[in-house]
Amino acid sequence: MNTSSNGYVMGFAIGVCVVMSAALALTATSLKETQQAAAEFDRQKNVMMAAGLVAEDDRRPRAELEKLYTERVEEVVVDTADGQVAAGKTPKDVDAMKDAADKKRFRVVAIAKGPDGKPQTYVLPISGKGLWSTIYGYLALDGDLVHVRGVTFYKHGETPGLGGEVENPAWRAQWQGKSILDEQKKLVGVIVKKGTVDPSIPADKAHKVDGLSGATITSNGVTKFVKQDLMAFEKYLAALRRH
């Protein structure tokens, strides 16, 4: 057999590609459900991490953590247009609307409760553009709805080692205790500074965290979408603060 004839080479190349793509399609479809379940659990774990219910490297088995989530976390759908809890809508409805034009109007807030059943922290979904990708995360606010309890970023496609450092636990730990309102009760959000925070400047100490070196666009993106998302939730949060 002449294995160097053009016809043979073409045929062989096509054959290899067809066999390989069939094998890959089969693996991808058969694993899809397990992958989605794993991603959903990861999301729940991030909500609990932001709320401080579980530690970063919690070693408890998955079933136990899932149980903790159902016991301690309640998901409510908030209509950001009027700041009210949208009665009758479930988080599933919100998922189904992700292609709608006003897809960011109805949003799911996770309320983490203490052992006594009282709301302790409010976990808000945040998302927006970094450099390469949309970054998804959670920002948890303390019961006073002014101070940050914690933040997590669970899905992104930023450069590992640069923008990907949004996942770095040491960097995220700086967010804790930052105030999203200034002294005049105006919304400022949390600002990712260029450079490091100088604790002797009050505005820095209250609202800013260190910049991610080598990732200016990711840092600016985080600052921007955190503020935008907080702005969207402000009506809801202000109503809660008055209680």
């Binding site: 294995t3 693996t27 397990t34 490297d57």
Partner: protein, 220 residues
């Protein structure tokens, strides 16, 4: 890609005879892909901050290397010479994608942390090197052993580097605290260099040095 010529075995040798054992043992020490051939360094620096990451990465490379070796070796007589590298790449990337998908389904946390480095197994020189140097000339059985041997040779170095980095960089081993709290209270601090890539580079250099000092290899 040092093509160490292995004498052809008699057709009727047992499945795991002396020759076969040598195929597996050789890359573990005398012909180690990292220490001797200095291949696959990039991922060795990137994924060795923790032992569990290094283990999963090592298992991935071993599986891909072994299966790719078998596949290429089985069809080696039909692969047109002109496109052999591309065919090898298609097989390797297919296997890597399958491995990545399985990780994403069953070890989501680790797959997130390994991020791009699982995909980068495709470009790992060890795998391409073994396909070109070994699987293209040898029967499937021996290629399988060669793939396993080289994968394990890569894995043990990774795990050693990762163990040293995790203990000195984070005070942990496989995620469990091993440096006692009392030591921290008396002023001990974790070594920040170990967490960063340069720490891995220095460690790897030392390991190559020690390995070569013992095995007596001299660069010609």
């Amino acid at each position: 890609m040092t093509a160490t010529s292995i004498p052809p075995v008699a057709a009727k040798s047992s499945l795991l005879g002396k020759d076969q054992l040598k195929i597996i043992k050789d890359p573990l020490w005398d012909n180690n892909p990292i220490a001797f051939q200095v291949l696959g360094i990039c991922s060795a620096l990137a994924v060795t901050t923790r032992v569990d990451k290094a283990l999963v990465m090592g298992i991935g490379v071993t599986l891909v290397c072994a299966l790719a070796n078998v596949t290429i070796s089985t069809i080696r007589k039909f692969i047109p010479n002109k496109i052999r590298i591309i065919v090898q790449l298609v097989v390797v990337s297919g296997l890597v994608i399958v491995f990545d998908q399985v990780l994403r389904a069953y070890m989501f946390d680790l797959s997130k942390q390994l991020s791009v480095f699982v995909g980068l197994i495709i470009t790992n020189c060890i795998i391409m090197g073994r396909l070109e140097a070994y699987a293209m000339q040898n029967p499937p059985g021996r290629s399988l052993l060669d793939g396993i041997g080289n994968g394990l040779g890569y894995m043990w170095i990774l795990v050693v580097v990762a163990a040293i980095r995790e203990v000195f960089g984070a005070g942990k081993l496989l995620g469990f605290q091993v440096v006692p709290q009392a030591l921290y209270e008396s002023g001990y601090v974790n070594n920040g260099l170990m967490v960063l890539a340069p720490g891995a580079f220095i460690l790897l250099g030392i390991i190559v040095w020690v390995q070569r000092a013992i095995s007596g290899y001299v660069e010609k």
